[in-house]
Point group: C2
Chain length 301, copies 2
Amino acid sequence: MNLRDLRYLLAVAEHEHFGRAAKACGVSQPTLSVQIRKLEDLMGVTLFERSSKTAAPTAACLQLIGHARAAVTEAEAILATARNLRDPLSGRFRLGIIPTLAPYLLPLVFAPLREALPTLELEPWEDQTTALLERLRTHELDAALLATEEDGSDLVSRPLFDEPFLAALPPEHPLAGRPVIVETDLARDILVLADGHCLRDQTMEACGGDAALGGPLRASSLPTLLNMVAAGYGTTLIPGLAAGAAQDAGIVLRPLSTRAGRTVRIAWRAHFPRRAAVEAVGEVIADRLRAFAEGAAAGAV
Amino acid sequence: MNLRDLRYLLAVAEHEHFGRAAKACGVSQPTLSVQIRKLEDLMGVTLFERSSKTAAPTAACLQLIGHARAAVTEAEAILATARNLRDPLSGRFRLGIIPTLAPYLLPLVFAPLREALPTLELEPWEDQTTALLERLRTHELDAALLATEEDGSDLVSRPLFDEPFLAALPPEHPLAGRPVIVETDLARDILVLADGHCLRDQTMEACGGDAALGGPLRASSLPTLLNMVAAGYGTTLIPGLAAGAAQDAGIVLRPLSTRAGRTVRIAWRAHFPRRAAVEAVGEVIADRLRAFAEGAAAGAV
DNA sequence: GATCGCGATAGGCTTGACCTATGAACCTTC
DNA sequence: GAAGGTTCATAGGTCAAGCCTATCGCGATC
């Protein structure tokens, strides 16, 4: 049985006439005769009572056409729905973002994304890198903003912008008077984030790679870390986008001598079919951050 | 688009694996790959995200499979319903019966019909001949029990049994003493049914064919006519099956010298597809009335 | 590095839906 | 009552499409 056959059935039932039904279906009358006959043979039921005048649906036919109409309607609903889904820039887009980036990046890019991609329903999801990669692989996310290189060939990524690190010091700190900070000088009293934050590893690497660095404190979030620094418990490195929040907290910021920083990338599954949406989202973010990245590059020269 | 394609779609979505889905569908894996690809091209939507591990349904696909499942389910419901309708001896069977026959025949044949054709839902419809023929032609009846020959080649009929007429007389009537009645002797004070009853025409023909026969009275039903005869207002001819009711009313019944009678026939549209049901119903009625018909024939010899 | 498993592709076969032309039955009209 | 115009059914040929087997390319795994 075929959806086409069901359409033929409905047409003949409606017109009660093979010729007119054939015209309505855009086929010849013999085609309809043959197909209806096949349908009758398949079902073992006479569907129409033919006479020289008309083709009247039998009682059995009347019982069947309800289902037939439902099937045809559902099939058409599939195509209609597909038409609406055709635009890859439309629909839900679940974007993972690491916690040291989300609170500072989202306010910058949310409105531009809405404006550039009005039909894309952006759903941000904040979590640490490994959790985001896991959710990417299980199709629970469509893309993720990370500050690390992707791992594994099943995922790919492209860089969006460079984010320099800044030294964050309490105002009364001995190094606060210097215009530029040498990272290794921070190692003595540096504070770091908890395990799992990529920023923790990057900070430690920039400051000398000592795994025992940072003492017993493990801040669970960047705002917490900033408050600790502001309170005079130590120093840290912060990503450039957090500069505003750090200054608001009364922290002194200084550029680093080695121009250390991180590259924010957007990552997605290699086979993800809505590549266009990923590209578009990345493009909007990169555009919005271009001034920031150029400023960072200029400052580094 | 095709129901087969939708089944393929559902299978791949369920198994998340082309090979296993192909096995479940009973086709080869390349077949499935090609058909799904065509479906994707038709819809303009990527349905599955393929990788070397698995074929995961996309968000778009998940939105579509609900409709797809509904369409396939409806299509299967058609076949299931058709299977139930396949037996022509099952289902509604609308049988028209003329009013001078229905009250006496139905009590005789209803139970035998139920027993012989338990799945046939018999719906009797009582009306005069012309109305029954009209309803037959408009497909509002499946068959009709008549006492006339069918008219027009679009309808056909077969005889079921012969029903002799009997002279019906008030006990005090002068002719009541005779063992056999000559029909034309009844003409003087005969009572007839209203226009439209075939029995009216047959009575008048048997008694001399005078159109002015029967005086001003036009009984609207046979029971009324019987009561009029019982009350002494005149005589009439009654069909044999009404004999019991007439005797109950206190009427004297006598055979006719010419053995006049009528043939009860079952009529149906020439193209009616449930011919088997018509034949079966007719057969049960003829069987049940065989004794009656033979008795009538014997009585006539 | 070889093997295995996945989906995609290629080439050839066969089915079946379609068309036009024609037939058979029936109705209407002159 | 013969002619012509309906109706649906049938016949024969064409062509698209679905299917198969064989093979490829890619990635993971041992």
